[in-house]
């Protein structure tokens, strides 16, 4: 995955006077793709990081890069450039491409395109079932041999309980994890596009009840217990799901969960405009859910932030709300939103941000080269941020090929000054 010699031809870096997540100030050396003692550097470029904070390179357990298949909406090159700008050094590329990542060949293709682009590590997520059809297992073992550890039919729920059981059992052999898109397709069918409640009733939009998520999470927690396997909950969005996660973790079940930036801050009230930019799956929820998700991310019940970055071409969004595509951009704004929703209100400190956005997602996705502490010997994946810098988000100012940015026009932290991936600068403001 990481070739230490790859960084050998790059200038050494001295990051001077930077603050670490634990609050200490130090100089960091970067040489040969690794963090080193500053004394070991030879003729380094000096980066004055006074007033800046270093975070381990962020890891996104949930990204849609659209390649292969929809290169008009995003490519691996454009998506990973956006990732680097957001402070990410690794992204897990979901399998719902065309063709679907349900074979070792496609997994290798996706990973290879990521290597060729070189902006961030691209970890292909393998499909759980062939073609995401939810009928028979994809070649999980062959994908695992190429390095895939996370499997997901994201966009669709692995609804068949027996199939889910088998998938969980099978991936235990290679320490894989099933990342479940928890949506009971009967309780929240194809027409479900709005949090069920006051807004869905008033706006006349198909209701997506909280329980359509939490009943699947409860079932999968028990299946993980039955099989002794590891399950990961994608985009947890409701207070009910948080309750189930608390119960399952207290019981010692091997379950993890992620929350998206948008579920930390945007509520179902946005949908009242019928602007399809706010159409996302699971849908934006109530203020009570937002509070529950924030508290759960703060106390570790939700382990990680996953962007669910979902680029869409304009022609797939400019339809009636019910006909438009689900999903919103997230990579470039994720850290700013987490600072606004979690750090500024005092729910999470910087060590907590490093954990939820780097250590934990790397651990969940099985990315051993990522999410390492900022100390000599670690691979040089990091970002330097100015937590006080803010901007009014402009959707046109983006490295993504798409413009479905729900943060457009909002005042948010815009922290990332510099990102380093494998010892090279992958983004500089």
């Amino acid at each position: 995955m990481n070739d230490p010699n790859k960084g050998a031809d790059v200038t050494d870096l001295l990051i001077a006077g930077v603050q670490l997540p634990n609050g200490t100030r130090t100089d960091l050396g970067v040489s040969g793709g690794r963090l080193v003692e500053p004394a070991q550097l030879s003729r380094p470029e000096r980066i004055d990081a006074a007033g800046l904070l270093a975070l381990p390179g962020l890891v996104d357990p949930h990204t849609h890069l659209r390649e292969p298949g929809r290169e008009d909406a995003e490519t691996i090159e454009s998506g990973t450039r956006a990732a680097a700008r957001g402070g990410f050094t690794a992204v897990c590329a979901m399998a719902n491409t065309s063709p679907v990542t349900d074979t070792a060949e496609i997994a290798n293709l996706v990973r290879g395109l990521g290597e060729a682009a070189g902006h961030a590590y691209v970890a292909p997520v393998g499909a759980v079932t062939k073609g995401l059809r939810g009928e028979e297992l994809a070649e999980l073992g062959l994908m695992a041999r190429t390095g895939v550890r996370m499997f997901s039919d994201d966009g669709k729920c692995v609804h068949d309980p027996l199939l889910m059981r088998r998938a969980l059992e099978y991936v235990r052999a290679f320490d894989g994890v099933i990342a479940q898109h928890a949506q009971d397709p009967r309780l929240a069918g194809p027409g479900a596009c709005c949090d069920e409640g006051e807004y869905s009733g008033r706006l006349g939009l198909g209701g997506w009840p909280a329980q359509a998520e939490s009943v699947i999470v409860a079932r999968d927690a028990q299946l993980a217990e039955l099989t002794g396997s590891r399950v990961h909950v994608c985009h947890a969005s409701t207070a009910e799901t948080v309750d189930v996660l608390r119960w399952a973790k207290a019981r010692g079940i091997n379950i993890t969960a992620e929350a998206t930036p948008h579920h930390l801050m945007l509520s179902v009230a946005e949908v009242a405009s019928y602007d399809p930019t706010y159409k996302v799956n699971p849908p934006l929820r109530s203020e009570e859910d937002i509070t529950a998700i924030r508290d759960a991310l703060a106390d570790g019940t939700i382990d990680a932030v996953g962007t669910d970055h979902a680029p869409h071409a304009r022609q797939d969004k400019e339809h009636a709300f019910t006909d438009a595509a689900f999903g919103m951009l997230g990579l470039e704004t994720a850290l700013g939103v987490v600072i606004e929703a979690m750090v500024n209100p005092g729910l999470l400190d910087w060590a907590g941000v490093a954990d939820r956005m780097a250590y934990a997602p790397a651990r969940i996705a099985g990315l051993t080269d990522q999410g390492q502490p900022l100390q000599p010997g670690s691979p040089a994946h990091l970002c330097l941020i100015d937590p006080t810098r803010r901007t009014r988000v402009d959707r046109e100012d983006s490295l993504s090929l798409s413009r479905n940015n729900p943060w457009h026009g909002r005042d948010l932290p815009d922290p990332v000054e510099l990102t380093i991936y494998r010892g090279r600068v992958s983004y500089r403001r």
Partner: protein
Amino acid sequence: MKHLLSAADLSRPEIDAIWELAEEMSEVQHREIKKLPTLRGRTVVNMFFEDSTRTRSSFELAGKWLSADVINVSAKGSSTSKGESLRDTVATLDAMGVDALVVRHSASGAPAQTAQWVRASVINAGDGTHEHPTQALLDGFALGRHFRASDPDFDWADKKIAIVGDLTHSRVVRSNVLLQQTLGAQVTLVAPPTLLPSGVDTWPVEVCTDFDAVLGEVDAVMMLRVQRERMAGGFFPTPREYTVGYGLTRDRLARLRPGTAICHPGPMNRGLEISADAADAAQSLVLEQVAAGVAVRMSVLYHVLSGETAATGGSKERRSE
């Protein structure tokens, strides 16, 4: 009034102004020569993304009797199936320079979205399970006439209206609740719990699952169409059971107070939500509602288009986002 997207957009004076002109228009309806020159030279496009013979004909007659040029575009299936976005479809017609787009769509919110993308005025002719504001206006118009016949100085605040049926999937109920909220009438929604909208407890209404409990105390009952296909969704077990619980049967008709108005937006499922006796009863306003529909839509077209005339003498800025 630039657009009519929701009954919530209408103030009491606006409702009164629409009804006042509708009274005049309904006189025209009974003349031998029905054409008025009022909207000569203006163009109205009926964009029906969903079939509706009755609402489309009503808008078409309304426009034609006001001398507007009216064209009907049946856009059903022409949008996503051709790969064309809703925005492209409506922007294309708008670019031809039409004055008003009357939009019917199976998706909630489509007229509101359209209004963001076009220069023309937009009238919501029914969107998904959201709203149908001209239906509420014509229901109120017919009811007002009915109440006035026995009490010329009646006050809406003294009136109790029950709306009964498939409330979850009804755009008629949402617009009526919003309009009646402005008028001040007391609305009771009646349906089995499976057909009550999410969050109905936050609406300015009473909710009751027992039709018989409200029968004797209302001044009007609005029966809503119940689609037989709802059975497949498990909303109720059989049509027979629905009728027994929530139909305006001959028996329930007899238990209404004298003069209680009976409304139905049509098309009726006789024998399911409404018995033939009730549909054809003396106090049934079903045909009055249809007649009021044309007059009210003439008035709405006038208010929307004349407002535009007054507001803009020359070129208008294109609203693109």
